[in-house]
C-alpha cells in the first residue's frame, strides 16, 4: 500500500452490458446477504485479532471482578503481618508482599471489582446524560439546543479530574464508589452530548423521521423510537474509551490521595501510591498493580478502537 503518489480510486457503478435494460440497474438482488451498519461492523470485527484479544481479556477481567475467590483465598486486608513487609514471593503468595505485609496478588485480584464498578457506573451515567441531553438539543434545536450546549461548554471548560479533586476533597469521611463515580462522571458528559447531537442533526433529515411524524407520532416518541437508535453508534465507541478513561481517573484520584479509603476498598491507585516510597528498593510492589491497571485500560481502549474502525468507514479506509 505504500505509494509515493496516491491516486484516488472512485468506485464506478456501471450496469453489466449483457444484463440490459434499466430494470437490471435498479433491481435489488434478493440473493445478496442481508446487511446493515451493525452486521457490517460485526463482519469486520470478526476477522480482527485485536478485537478478539481485547474481548477475551475483558471477559476475563469481568470474571475476576465477579469471583475473586476463585483466584485467591488470601484475604487482601485482614491477613497482613509486618513480619512479611516487602517480602518476596512465597508459596501461596506469588507476587510477594506490600510494605504493610499484605499479599500483593490478592490485593490486585480484589481491586479489579473496584476499578470495574467505578468504570461501569461512570460510563452508564455519562452515556445516559450525554444521550438524553444531546438528543434533545439536536432534535428539538432552537433555544433548547443553545441552552443545553452552552451548559455543556461550561462543564467542558473544567478538566474533569480537577473538578473531581475538588468534589472529593469536600467528602473526606464518606467517600465510596458512588461518590467517586459521580465526581468523575458529572463533568465528563459534554463530550458524549456533543457527539450525539451532531449525529442526531444528521439523522433527523432522513425520510423515515419525517414519515414517523407524518404518521402522527409525537416528536418525543419519534426521537426515542427512530432518531436515537440510529444515532447511537458513535456513543458506543466513545463509551468504551470512556470506560478506560474512568478507570484511569479513579486510579489517578486514588493515587493523588482523594480517592477511595485505603482500608475499605482495594484500589490499584492506592496500592501504587503506597508502594512509591519503596521504588528504589522494592519496585515490583509498584509495578504489579501498574501492569494490572494498564492492561485493563489497554483492553478497553483496544476494543473501542476496533469497534470505531468497524463502525466508521472513514477510519476503515485509513487502516
Amino acid at each position: 500500500m505504500s505509494r509515493s503518489n496516491p491516486v484516488r480510486q472512485a468506485p464506478r457503478y456501471v450496469a453489466e452490458v449483457d444484463e440490459g435494460g434499466l430494470g437490471a440497474v435498479d433491481a435489488v438482488r434478493v440473493s445478496d446477504r442481508k446487511s446493515n451498519l451493525w452486521l457490517d461492523a460485526w463482519r469486520d470485527l470478526r476477522g480482527r485479532w485485536m478485537f478478539w484479544i481485547s474481548a477475551v481479556f475483558i471477559v476475563f477481567i469481568v470474571f475476576v471482578a465477579l469471583f475473586p475467590g476463585v483466584f485467591t483465598q488470601v484475604p487482601p486486608n485482614n491477613d497482613c503481618y509486618l513480619a512479611n513487609s516487602n517480602a518476596g514471593p512465597q508459596p501461596g503468595h506469588p507476587l510477594g508482599f506490600t510494605k504493610q505485609g499484605c499479599d500483593v496478588f490478592s490485593r490486585i485480584v480484589h481491586g479489579t471489582s473496584t476499578s470495574l464498578s467505578v468504570g461501569v457506573i461512570v460510563t452508564v451515567m455519562v452515556a445516559v446524560m450525554g444521550i438524553v441531553l444531546g438528543a434533545f438539543a439536536g432534535y428539538f434545536g432552537g433555544w433548547l439546543d443553545s441552552f443545553l450546549m452552552r451548559i455543556g461548554d461550561i462543564f467542558f471548560a473544567i478538566p474533569y479530574i480537577l473538578a473531581a479533586v475538588v468534589i472529593m476533597s469536600m467528602f473526606l469521611h464518606d467517600r465510596n464508589i458512588w461518590i467517586i463515580a459521580l465526581a468523575i462522571g458529572f463533568f465528563s458528559w459534554p463530550a458524549t452530548a456533543r457527539i450525539l447531537r451532531s449525529e442526531v442533526l444528521r439523522v433527523k433529515q432522513f425520510d423515515y423521521v419525517m414519515a414517523s411524524e407524518a404518521l402522527g407520532l409525537s416528536k418525543v416518541r419519534t426521537m426515542f423510537l427512530h432518531v436515537m437508535p440510529n444515532s447511537i453508534a458513535p456513543v458506543i465507541v466513545i463509551s468504551t474509551v470512556g470506560l478506560a478513561a474512568a478507570i484511569t481517573a479513579e486510579a489517578t484520584l486514588s493515587f493523588l490521595g482523594v480517592g477511595l479509603p485505603n482500608n475499605i476498598y482495594m484500589s490499584w491507585g492506592n496500592d501504587i501510591s503506597a508502594a512509591q516510597v519503596d521504588l528504589r528498593t522494592n519496585p515490583m510492589t509498584l509495578i504489579y498493580p501498574s501492569i494490572a491497571l494498564s492492561a485493563t485500560v489497554l483492553a478497553f481502549i483496544m476494543l473501542g478502537e476496533t469497534v470505531r474502525e468497524a463502525l466508521d468507514p472513514k477510519a476503515r479506509a485509513q487502516r
Binding site: M1, S2, S4, N5, P6, V7, R8, R150, I151, D153, I154, F155, A157, I158, P159, I161, L162, A163, V165, V166, I167, S169, M170, L172, H173, A244, T248, A251, T252, F255, L256, G257, V258, I272, Q276, L279, R280, P283, L286, I287, S290, L293, S294, V297, L298, I301, M302, E305, A315, Q318
Partner: protein, 310 residues
C-alpha cells in the same frame, strides 16, 4: 477577523463565569458548614473559623458571595493556606517552573508527534506505521503516574541517565525526563491525528495536482500535505492542554518539580482544601483563557472558520 474575535471573546464570558461559579458552588452549595468541612478531621480554632468565614463572605447570600469571591480573585487576593502562606506568593514562585516544563513538553509532543505521524501517514501500512500504531496504543493506555514511575525507576534509578528527582532551581536538564513523561499521552494523540489527516490530505485533488504538474515530493509533502494536515492538530491543542494540566499535577508531584502542579499535589496530600480550591480555580481560569487563544489561532489558520454563517 475582527468580528470573529469579538464573537469568540463574547462567547467566552459565560463560560468563564459559569465554570468559576460551578467550582464555587461545588464548595459552598453542599450541605453542612463549608468551613468546618474544609478542615476535615482537624478542629479549627474560633479565630480560624472567623477568618475563613470573613474570607468567603459567609454572612452574605450565595450569589452575592460568589461575586465578592470573584472580585477577590480578580484583585489577586487568593487567600492563605492552612500553614499561613499566601497563595499568590506560592503561585508567583511556582508558575515559571511549570511554564518551562509545559513548554518543553509541548515542543517534544509536537516535534516528535508530527514527525512520526507524517512518516506513518506517508508510508501507510509499512513497518514504521504498524510500530507507531502499537506504541501510541500503549502510551494512550498507560496512566501518567504509571509512566512516570516506570520512567523514574528505569531511566533514573536503573540506568542512571537522568536524575530521578529534580534538583534545586529545576535546571532544564533535570526537566527533560518529566517533560517526556508529561508529553507522552498528547504525543500519541498527535501522532494518530497527524497520520489520519496526512492520509486524507494526500488523497486530495490539490495534492494530485501538485504531483501532476511535476513538483517533487520534497516540495509537495511539506508545503501541500503537511501544512493542510496540521489543522486538526491545532484544534486538538485545547484538549491537549487539559491533559497537560492534570498530567503536570501528577508528574510534578512524582519528580518533585517545584511547580504549580506540585503545590496542588502537596495541598491534596495535606487536605488543605482552601489551597486546593484556589489553585484549581486559577488553573481553570488559565484553561478557559488558553482555549480562547487556541480558538483565535484556529481562526487565523483556517479562514473557513471565520466565515461561518449564523
Amino acid at each position: 477577523m475582527a468580528w470573529y474575535i469579538v464573537r469568540r471573546v463574547l462567547q467566552g464570558i459565560p463560560v468563564f463565569l459559569g465554570s468559576t461559579f460551578l467550582i464555587y458552588a461545588m464548595v459552598f452549595a453542599m450541605p453542612g458548614n463549608p468551613v468546618l468541612r474544609m478542615f476535615g478531621d482537624r478542629t479549627p480554632t474560633e479565630a480560624q473559623i472567623a477568618a475563613l468565614e470573613a474570607k468567603f463572605h459567609l454572612d452574605q447570600n450565595f450569589f452575592t458571595r460568589y461575586f465578592l469571591y470573584l472580585g477577590d480573585v480578580f484583585q489577586g487576593n487568593l487567600g492563605t493556606t492552612f500553614n499561613g502562606q499566601s497563595v499568590n506568593e506560592i503561585l508567583i514562585r511556582t508558575f515559571p517552573t511549570t511554564l518551562r516544563l509545559a513548554l518543553l513538553a509541548v515542543i517534544i509532543q509536537l516535534v516528535v508527534g508530527v514527525t512520526a505521524g507524517l512518516i506513518s501517514g506517508l508510508r501507510k501500512g509499512g513497518i514504521f506505521d504498524h510500530a507507531a500504531l502499537i506504541v501510541t496504543l500503549i502510551l494512550i493506555s498507560l496512566p501518567v503516574f504509571v509512566l512516570a514511575f516506570v520512567a523514574q525507576w528505569f531511566f533514573g534509578i536503573e540506568l542512571g541517565w537522568f536524575r530521578p528527582t529534580v534538583g534545586q532551581g529545576a535546571p532544564w536538564s533535570d526537566l527533560i525526563l518529566p517533560a517526556i513523561v508529561l508529553a507522552a499521552l498528547n504525543m500519541a494523540y498527535v501522532v494518530r491525528l497527524t497520520r489520519g489527516s496526512v492520509i486524507e490530505t494526500s488523497q486530495a485533488d490539490f495534492v494530485r495536482m501538485a504531483y501532476g504538474k511535476g513538483l517533487p515530493s520534497r516540495r509537495v509533502v511539506p508545503v501541500h500535505v503537511l501544512r493542510n494536515s496540521l489543522i486538526p492538530v491545532t484544534t486538538n491543542l485545547a484538549a491537549d492542554f487539559g491533559i497537560l494540566i492534570v498530567g503536570a499535577t501528577v508528574t510534578e508531584g512524582i519528580f518533585n518539580v517545584p511547580g504549580v502542579g506540585n503545590e496542588l499535589f502537596k495541598a491534596i496530600n495535606r487536605h488543605d482544601t482552601p489551597e486546593i480550591v484556589s489553585i484549581v480555580t486559577i488553573l481553570v481560569i488559565v484553561y478557559v483563557f488558553v482555549n480562547l487563544l487556541i480558538d483565535l489561532l484556529y481562526g487565523v489558520l483556517d479562514p473557513r472558520i471565520r466565515y461561518v454563517k449564523k
